[in-house]
Each structure stands twice: as C-alpha cells, then as structure tokens.
Amino acid sequence: MYKATIVVRLKPSVLDPQGNAVKGSLHSLGFEDVEEVRIGKTMEVWLDTSDSALASERVEAMCKKLLANPVIENYEYELEEGA
C-alpha cells in the first residue's frame, strides 16, 4: 500500500480570490502581519500497490489527467509506503 499526498496550488500568476478573502478576514481579526495567503488542495490517495516506481507513475498520471488543471494549477506529491 502506498499513500500519495498531492498538493495542488494555483499558479503564482493566477489571482487567488479565496486566498485574498482569507487574508482580508485575517486582517480584520487583528492579524495585520499577514502578508499573503494562498489556498490550495491537499489530496491523500491510497494506492493498493507494492511497487514504488509504479505508484509514482500512476500518481503522476492521475495528476495530469484529472487532479490538477494545467491552465491554472501546479501540483507536487510525496509517496509514503505502507501508510
């Protein structure tokens, strides 16, 4: 079993409305020292496989095909065995 933790983020060039709104809320709650907020997704995917190379290939394919939208998003991931 492998667990992939995939983080999908908006590309730096794409404005992040959610991050901006959260920044605004944090400011109004008194956290004025917050300079910037960016919000992304964390996906944990458990794979029934014992081959690490295969697992990583599969995860790469999932990200390309479905989990991230290349027009606006970047992704990165980590693999962990036996989680």
């Binding site: 404005l15 409305p17 959610q18 901006n20 709104a21 479905l66 989990l67 939208n69 027009v71 606006i72």
Partner: protein, 226 residues
C-alpha cells in the same frame, strides 16, 4: 434540426434546456444519458447547467470523462454546434474545447440574478438574431464563473472576436475582461455562464435568451446542416 442535451449525474438545467428548445423552436430535442458515446443523430448539442458529479474537485472536471463527451468532441470536430451553459461552459473548458479555466467568484458567494450583458459578436450562428452590441438581460446562477485565461489567450480571443458576451454594469464574478461567454476559433463551440434557457418568456423576467435559439435555427435554414 435536432438537438441533444447530454445529462450527467447532477445536471439540473437539462429539463430547462429541453423546454426552451421546444417552446422557442418547436424542434425535436432529446436528453442523452452520459453513458451514450454517440451523438451522430444530432445537429446541435447543449451541455446544460447544474452540478455534474457534484462539481467536486473542480466544476466540470469529472464530467469531462463521461462517455458522452466522445460524442461532444466529435460533434465539435465536425463543425456541429455545441453550446455549454454555466456548468456546460465549465465542462467545455475542462475538456479543452475552449481555452481558459474557471475560478471561484471573487466574492466567494453563489450569485443568482438577472444580469445585463452586451452581445460582442453578432455574426455567429448563435447570435445573428441579436443587434450590433445589443444590450440584453440574462439570468446568471453560479459560484464558479470567474473566467480566467492568460494575457496571450485574451488578446487572441479579443482579436478574433471570440468574446461573445460581456457583463455590463457590475461584473458579478471577477472574470477577466468582464467575459461572460466565448466561442472557439471555428465559431461553432460556445461557452457562456448566463442562462439563455431561463429567459425565453417575458414572465421569466426577460425573454432575451430566445434569440440565441432562433439564431441557430435561422442559420441552419440558411446554410443547411453543418
């Protein structure tokens, strides 16, 4: 002229689109379950609004892999008319049939209203019944209608007249260049956030959407099937 309205699990404007085609054009129109892979019998395809697959992950991202999308690609390829309304627009973007991507509205809320728009290109099979730069009112209802594309794409869209509808007054979602709807380069695939099918009788608050449907029929009559 025959219309197909693909139905995904979670679509909810499918019935509205079907009603609009019947009531405005009195043409045959069928719901097509998302597991059908072929749309050969149809001249036009309307991808309806709603929340296909719950809009989980990103709106439109899961619907893109439904078998019926094979039929949609093929229809687009053959030059048939494909319209994506709201969720349908989001699906077309995810499917790569239109450039760009959708983000959550800049105010983060769902927004439902009747919105003023300007028809930016009235020379398309979808818009020929509208006047030049005609100002119209169409309902909007979405939480992710904040259209994005990079600057290069934007200038291409503008130059080619691919921006079809633009929001007037307050932009309801923060989209780039106030874009409400775009068409592909070939001019046969249209994506728009506003709902023309919700504005086909005066009692609905506006009847301005009807011309979108009549435009297609007129074009079809003049130029024959695509």
């Amino acid at each position: 002229m025959r219309f197909a309205v693909p139905v995904f699990p979670g679509s909810n404007c499918d019935v509205d689109c079907i009603k609009a085609v019947r009531e405005v054009l009195d043409r045959p129109v069928d719901p097509v379950w998302h597991l059908e892979g072929k749309l050969d019998d149809y001249d036009a395809v309307i991808l309806p609004g709603g929340f296909s697959y719950g809009d989980y992950l990103r709106s439109g991202s899961l619907a893109r892999f439904s078998p019926v999308m094979e039929g949609v690609y093929e229809a687009a390829e053959k030059g048939k008319w494909v319209i994506g309304i709201c969720n349908g627009f989001q699906i077309l973007l995810e499917a790569g049939l239109l450039p760009g991507a959708m983000r959550v509205n800049d105010h983060l809320q769902f927004r439902c209203d009747i919105q003023k728009l300007r028809v930016e290109n009235d020379r398309l099979p979808f818009t020929q019944d509208y006047g030049r730069e005609e100002e119209i009112f169409l309902p909007i209802a979405h939480k992710e209608g904040n259209y994005y594309c990079d600057e290069e794409t934007l200038s291409r869209l503008e130059q080619n007249g691919q921006v079809v509808f633009r929001y007037m007054g307050e932009n309801p979602n923060g989209s780039v260049a106030d874009i409400a709807g775009i068409v592909n380069e070939k001019g046969n695939v249209l994506g728009m956030m506003p709902h023309p099918e919700r504005a086909v009788h005066a009692w609905m608050g506006s009847a301005d959407g009807a011309k979108l449907f009549t435009s297609m029929l007129h074009d079809w009559r003049e130029n024959g099937a695509a």
